[in-house]
């Protein structure tokens, strides 16, 4: 019997949560797949981790699934499956508050809440993650990854990535 099957449901869920909280996003390693809202939890019978892709064409989707698989396997949870769901569609609102703090500390301006229904580039006030100034400007709507835009602070002049609303 595997370690996964030997645990009680509650203990198993807690174990999975702990393991996944340590799985970094491959493109933004400062945040975990849980912080980003990619992991939706464990399904009702406790057999599958439910994940959802961020962008439709996010190239990291396969890498993320692989990273989750490896983390589960290493924790002795080989019999826990991974199920991908699309609905409800992921939005940047699903990034946790802790995730937003980690993004900021990493130098990425987190997306404002309430992104649902807005287009990807609804430009509002963006705070510089370095100095906190709101005198910032968009340099390029497309940045180092599909989910980010390139911005610059007009006060401290630091360029920074901004997580786009989605």
């Amino acid at each position: 019997m595997s370690a996964g099957a030997a645990l009680s449901q509650a203990a198993l869920r807690a174990r999975i949560d702990t393991v996944l909280a340590e799985v970094p996003d491959p493109e933004i390693p400062a945040v975990s797949v849980v912080d980003l809202g990619i992991v939706r939890g464990v399904d009702a019978d406790g057999r599958n981790v439910i994940v959802t892709p961020t962008y439709t064409g996010c190239p990291a989707t396969i890498a993320i699934e692989l990273a989750i698989r490896v983390a589960l396997d290493e924790a002795g949870l080989e019999d826990i499956g991974i199920k991908t769901v699309l609905s409800p569609p992921w939005t940047t609102d699903m990034i946790s508050d802790a995730g937003r703090d980690k993004l900021r500390a990493y130098g990425i301006a987190p997306p404002p809440k309430g992104a649902e229904g807005r287009s990807l580039h609804g430009a509002d006030i963006v705070e510089c993650p370095q100095c906190g100034s709101t005198r910032t400007k968009e340099v390029s709507r497309f940045g180092s990854t599909p989910c980010k835009a390139l911005w610059q602070c007009s006060d401290c002049h630091e360029p920074f990535d901004r997580f786009k609303c989605h």
């Binding site: 699309l86 287009s119 599909p146 989605h166």
Partner: protein, 250 residues
Amino acid sequence: MSDTLFRSLLELGDDSLILGQRLCEWCGKAPSVEVDLSLSNLGLDLMGQATLFLNYAGEVEGKGRDGDRLAFHRDGEQFRNSLLVEQPNGDFGQTMARQFLFSTYQLGLFEQLVKSADPRIAEIAAKAVKEVRSHADISAEWVIRLGDGTEDSHERMVDGFDWFWRFIDDMFAMDDDQRALAEQGILADKAALRPAFDARVAAVLAEATLPAAQPVWQVGSGRQGKHSEHLSHLLAEMQQLARAHPEATW
């Protein structure tokens, strides 16, 4: 019914796949690094849509083909994409004319498909529609910027659009079986989407100081697998690796 649904899913997936491939041809040689990134990013979104639609198409077909199999191991006449998306990139103006026409069409379509009675189609459309909205906005901005730009950029936009007017009916084409699926709420009735498409295109062209759409003879029909020679060249490049090593994994 399942054959009609399969064909219709191929139309949706192939439009995204072929245009995604076209956009990625710009990678490394776009007018600026930002544009390089933006076209590849748009292409990536389209590839994501293609994966979802073609995987579902494979399930509906029930012959064990997945999205990759459908993308890389079909010949040209088995593709159901519109003629518009397979047209060569031309210059940046022509690429943006094509993108604006396609994204405007796709936005109207997906806004209906989010209400599809088929839950898989509905959830794919709901996932993709936010990205499509940004594609439609970005391409409209470029059309206006270039149309209302220099004499050179204006002329290039005029030329770009001139090439594409002949493919609009093909993009919107539906047959009787598909109309029956639309009546059941599974597909969208594309004819009903046409007036809003025409109005949006007219408004953006006017703002771009570009001439209105010209009524020209319409070329058909990609939806029946009859394609221009351009598709074969595109497929030769796209499919070459997968066909040379059909069982490869990495």
